[in-house]
Structure formats: structure tokens, C-alpha cells
Point group: C2
Chain length 288, copies 2
Amino acid sequence: MAERAGFRLQAEAARVVPGSPSRVALVTGASRGYGRALCLALAREGARCLALIARDGAQLEETAEACRRLSKDLQCEHFAGDLGKLAELESLLEPVLRYLADAVASCGGGGICELLVLHNSGSLGRMDYVQNLGAQETGAAVELNLTGVMVLTQALLQRFGPCAKGGEASLRIRVVNISSLLALQAMPCWSLYATVKAARDMYMKSLAADAKSCGFDVRTLSWAPGPMQTEMLQEVIDTCPDPEVRQQFQDMQSQGKLVEVDSSVAKLVRLLREDAYLSGAHIDYYDV
Amino acid sequence: MAERAGFRLQAEAARVVPGSPSRVALVTGASRGYGRALCLALAREGARCLALIARDGAQLEETAEACRRLSKDLQCEHFAGDLGKLAELESLLEPVLRYLADAVASCGGGGICELLVLHNSGSLGRMDYVQNLGAQETGAAVELNLTGVMVLTQALLQRFGPCAKGGEASLRIRVVNISSLLALQAMPCWSLYATVKAARDMYMKSLAADAKSCGFDVRTLSWAPGPMQTEMLQEVIDTCPDPEVRQQFQDMQSQGKLVEVDSSVAKLVRLLREDAYLSGAHIDYYDV
């Protein structure tokens, strides 16, 4: 019996990359594309527990199934909901927080436990010149891509942060914002997208400053994943009214200059494993 | 009679700085502090027409009266309302747009007519560590300081931009965002404020990129006015829970290192008069 238990512990240890923490992760926008690829990579890296959020429940279930197939000891639950509906956010988050709390409570086992939050959710919003944009689409883009991210982060910090009661003493928290080159550099017709990405970057910097001031083990990263062949890129080419912007992305596509999703995810996962980036930094795919 | 008319024209010309445009300006957050000082400076500079927005109607009327005393030919109207209440924004903006349209229609007179938009409105929001902030105060801060600014700008561009019907051909549009050092640099407990200021900066850059791509005569500026002895600064010292941040601002106050409101306004007005800044730039009081 003791032998079997010993064998099982050894087998579990083999699944975990040496030096890596016992990881509990929350991924938003997890149903497809970059979010799904991230979940699969975390499962492969030996994450202990994943919580997935996105609007499309059926696609989320596909992501969860694919993660479970990669790692039979992985706990993986999904929570379908719209992070842009602030009035419903509290009831969406309540079961997520409960699930994460259980996972965190049984995590670590004497080693380091990490709660990783990956803000991958987001929408392109309508691509157009400022004067053609309306109040409703502007409000919706800001709520989903910015306010939702802030409120979710605040709720997680409140529950798992250093002042929370009953928290795991050795819990470390990492918050990753999937950002964009557009957070730094403006282009015609991208105002909705660029504005919220710049805001998210500064929110991550602010959280890093908070943590540093208080000595919390919370670090943040804004990750620009590079221009990838995703549905979003196709949407840019199909809908952007600015001919130069359209041409630029079409050229990248036809000249094979787009970044592979898996290559981008691999670089991010390595950054997270090494855990040596400057907290609050904006790091681009081409920087590392 | 001809002599009197001629004399009057001469007197009017003397009021206007040589080379300056005939200016119609909209100022938000105009009821007090930096906004009021800006309105007075624009009146002194010979603005033709001012539209003032803020929440407090009585204080707005005081600003308007003070402006009219400085320049008897100035048209100055005020519109009390809350730019953070998006559901009411359309009805707040409707009379503002009508008033500005009349002013623009009779502006220029063969010379340049400028529509200047000064986004001075804004709130500090609660100063606290991210984990102590709630959903409601976060949503309110984002709506007032970011979404409201975007929707107002879009409405103005739609009405007066180059594609608008019946616009004055020679109209030039300048949009100024009152920004902050916090738009670039994070500090503990400033997440709500810094996030929206960074977002506004990028929105201005995006609008500049739109205009450049289309050949519009629209230019934007993000102006960081410097640390001033305003009610906002006192609020920081009184409410910020981070002792180092409080100390830093107290030290600036006690060591006389704060910027005078009128000095900051004068630098901004000079930038606007010279109209030579790079469109979309973030310029700080200490840069010029």
C-alpha cells in the first residue's frame, strides 16, 4: 500500500516540470483560438486545475475535454458567461471563485502553489474611423474588454490576495493580460481595440505597483502574442475600411509572416515557467 | 457710420492674437479648478464662442459669467450634465451640438475657424489597492472618464468632421485630452485613474492616426498639466491608503514644488496657439 502510494507520487512528480509550481489557472476567452491553445499548453505543463470561461458553452466543453485527454489527473471545469455583462458578473463569478478556492486549498502540498489568471477574452470591436463609431458599440467594447477585466481581477485579488482570510500562505498570484502591439502603437480604424488594450496594460502596471508597495507575491505581465492567423485577423482583413491597414495584414498573410498560434503560446508558457519577467512589463512575441 | 464700423472692426481685431483662428471651444469639467482657468484663458485669447459642460450648474454659471466679463463679444453658454451617465448622454449632447453648429456656421468669415474640444472632465476615483476596489466604483470611473470621452468625441466628429454634411470647409478641429503623468507611469493605489488616463491617451493617438490616414484637419493632444494644488491633490493626500504616495505629494506641497494652475494653463494655451505639436503626442508641463 505504501509502495503503491509512493509509486503514485513518483508518477505525479514526473508530470510536473522540475521547479514549476502546482498551478491553478483561470483562462478567459478559453473556448477557441489562442485561449484554447493556452489551456492545452497549461494542461501539458502539468497544471493541477483549470477554470475556463467564455460565452460559448459547447465550444468550452470541447476545450475542457481536450485538456482532460492530455492529463487525466487534471481538474478542469468550465463556466459559460459573458464578462461584458457587468450586471451579471457577480453571479457568473461566484461559482468560479468557489471552484478556485477549493483548488487552492488543496494545492501546493508544502511546495509553491500558483494561481495564474489569463485575461485572454476580448473582442476586436468594430473597426472604423472614430467619427463612424456609435455610443452603444463603444460602451459594449469598453465593458467587455476593460471593465470586465478589472472587476474580475479585483474579485480574484479580494478572495485570494494576501489580505484574504484563510488563504494559502504560500500562494503566489500571476496575472497575464493578453495584449497587443496596438496597446503601444496606434493605427487607423483601431481606436476601440487600441484604447482598451492600452488601458489593460496600465491596469497591469498599476497592480504590479500595488503589489510591490505591499510586498504581495503578485506579479503581472502584458503579453502581445504577435500577429496570428486567427479569426480576428480575418475579421480585420474583411471589415477594416482603411485600405492601407487591410493591405498590410493581407501582405503579412500572403508573405507567410504571421506567427503560429502554438509558437506564440510556447513563448508565453516559457516566460511563465521561468517567472523572471519584470512585473508589469509589456512583452511582445518578437522581444523574446 | 462707416467710421464707427471700421473702428469697431479694428477694436475686434486687436482682441485677437495675430494668426490665431476664430475659435469655438467646448470645455468639459468647466465648473472649477483647471477647467475654469482654461475657459478664462480662452476668453482672454479672443475665443468667439464657448460651450461649457460640468455637473454643477451654479458653478458653471459662475465660470460663464467670469468669461463674459473678460470679453463682451464672447458667446458663452453652459450645459449642466453628467458625462458619465451614458444613457442620458444623447439628450445632454443634443443642445450642445446645436449650439456649436450655429457658432461654427457663423465662424471663420474667410479665415480659419477652429473647433477646440477640451476633455478636462474626470474624477480621481477611489484611491486604493486593486483588491479593495469594487465593481460599481470601477464601472462608474470607466464610464465617466473613458466611455463618456469617447462618445462625446465621436458625436462631435460625426457632426463637424470632414464627412459631415454642411460643414464649414475651412473648419479645423483640435481635440485636447487633459491627461496625467499617471497615463505613463504607475503608482500604488492609482489603478482606476491611471488606467483611464492611459486609455484616453491611446484614444487620442488613434484619432490622430485616423485623421492622418484620411487627410482630415483634425489634430489631437494629450496634455499632462503637472502636479497642481487643486482639490484633487488634496483628495490624494487625504484619502490615499499608501503612506509613500501620501508622503510624496505632501512633500511636494510643503516644499513648494507644485505647479501653479495659471502657469500650466498658459503653457497649454501657447501650445494650442502655435499649433505645432505632433498630433497624438503626450506632452507634459515639464516638457515645454
